[in-house]
Symmetry: C2
Subunit: 237 residues, 2 copies
């Protein structure tokens, strides 16, 4: 008999933003997999979930390098396969294994690569949703993401410039993730579209060093990794 594999979203930062279901699954976990961007760093997802973890539960930290996927496809595929096989070993030992994800497991997550391997190999996975960071930012700022007959696009600034430009043109509301990668490009695109008053920029939401700005000049500065922009064409911030 094999154990069960769960991927749970722990939300954006506040432990109380975890779902009741995620907390219940966490409490009965035998093994918790905490993804790390680099060995030696702390897992933010684990910090969030920690208060709900039993003291007998084994914590396994797995490294998922945060590097460009398009430039490192083969290396990353091997890494994801290796990590998936480590997780599979625990499932085969009849353990309940819970993989933690910051935010939601289906929104830009490392979990989704393990899931891809497992789904291909017909290993049962239960995914439990979490609050994505852009959802939390909108709530904290009391800014509806979209209403009525509007769309929303969520774009990563690591995408190709032409793709990003098309998305900026096609949608009334746009969430831009990973703003720190190309802030100068984003500034130019906002100015071209006369959107310099139509955005809010948030770094490290909910953390002690949280920063919120509506000033386009902020895009000239060095920004933290966790920086997100909300653009609303129909709204002046």
């Amino acid at each position: 008999m094999a154990g069960k594999f769960y991927g749970i979203g722990v939300g954006p930062g506040d432990p109380e933003l975890m779902t009741v279901k995620a907390v219940n699954i966490l409490k009965k976990a035998d093994i918790i997999i905490a993804p790390l961007s680099k060995t030696g760093r702390k897992s933010i997802a684990l910090e969030i979930a920690e208060r709900f973890v039993n003291k007998n539960t084994k914590i396994v930290e797995l490294e998922f390098p945060m590097i460009s996927i398009s430039e490192n496809q083969k290396f990353l595929n091997e890494r994801w396969n290796e990590n998936a096989m480590i997780v599979k070993k625990y499932i085969d030992e009849d353990k309940n294994v819970v993989f933690l994800t910051l935010g939601d497991p289906m929104v830009y997550s490392t979990y989704s690569y393990i899931l891809d391997v497992f789904v291909r190999n017909e290993i049962e996975c239960e995914t439990v949703s979490g609050i994505a960071s852009f959802i939390d930012i909108a709530a904290k700022l009391n800014i509806p993401l979209m209403q009525g007959e509007e769309s929303l696009a969520i774009v990563s600034l690591t995408q190709e410039n032409s793709e990003i430009q098309n998305i900026l043109d096609a949608n009334k509301n746009i969430v831009v993730m990973k703003v720190a990668t190309k802030p100068a490009f984003l500034k130019e695109e906002l100015l071209k579209r006369k959107l310099s008053k139509n955005f809010v920029l948030v770094s490290n939401i909910g953390r002690s060093d949280e920063k919120i700005s509506k000033d386009i000049e902020i895009l000239d500065e060095k920004l933290p990794y966790l920086t997100t922009m909300i653009i609303k064409k129909g709204f002046k911030f």
Copy 2:
């Protein structure tokens, strides 16, 4: 002294998908506002939250007509203002008032119109995120919404055709809400883009009459109101 106003997302259907924070706020509510699309109907949001509500809490049902916003702007504005004033009366009586929203309060919600009125009048609002239906659908089907260098757009099929076409072209992943309004149009656009194998259609997710289809011919049928499509250009379903 005035009470406090909370807008909380109760998630897509399973009460356990409510956040710990939403449950805690609900337990200490004096008044719960449950939006109805029509007087006499049951509030789905209230059904989800019910198990966490104290028996002394007063339930107030408010009608929010589900009609086209662009065609009924003035009528709806008046309605939202009236409803906001009803809610404000309770806050002024020093009550903790909790407004329930299906899914997330910042994603196509009636709450966002009350929020607009309150923010304009500088009434304090605390919004607590919930799991949006499209997030839950992705989790249940184990389909990542977006990975790495991909975007996601969420579009309502009530938008103008040209807008929808641009969004279908600009994004790799698209969630289409309110599919029941123009299924024939959507079918044609999928066929034009050779995307007839690149989608999954889900009606009434998590309910007893849940239906999942990957067959394009389903778009010729009459579909339930709560029908959502996930399109992934890089993935065959």
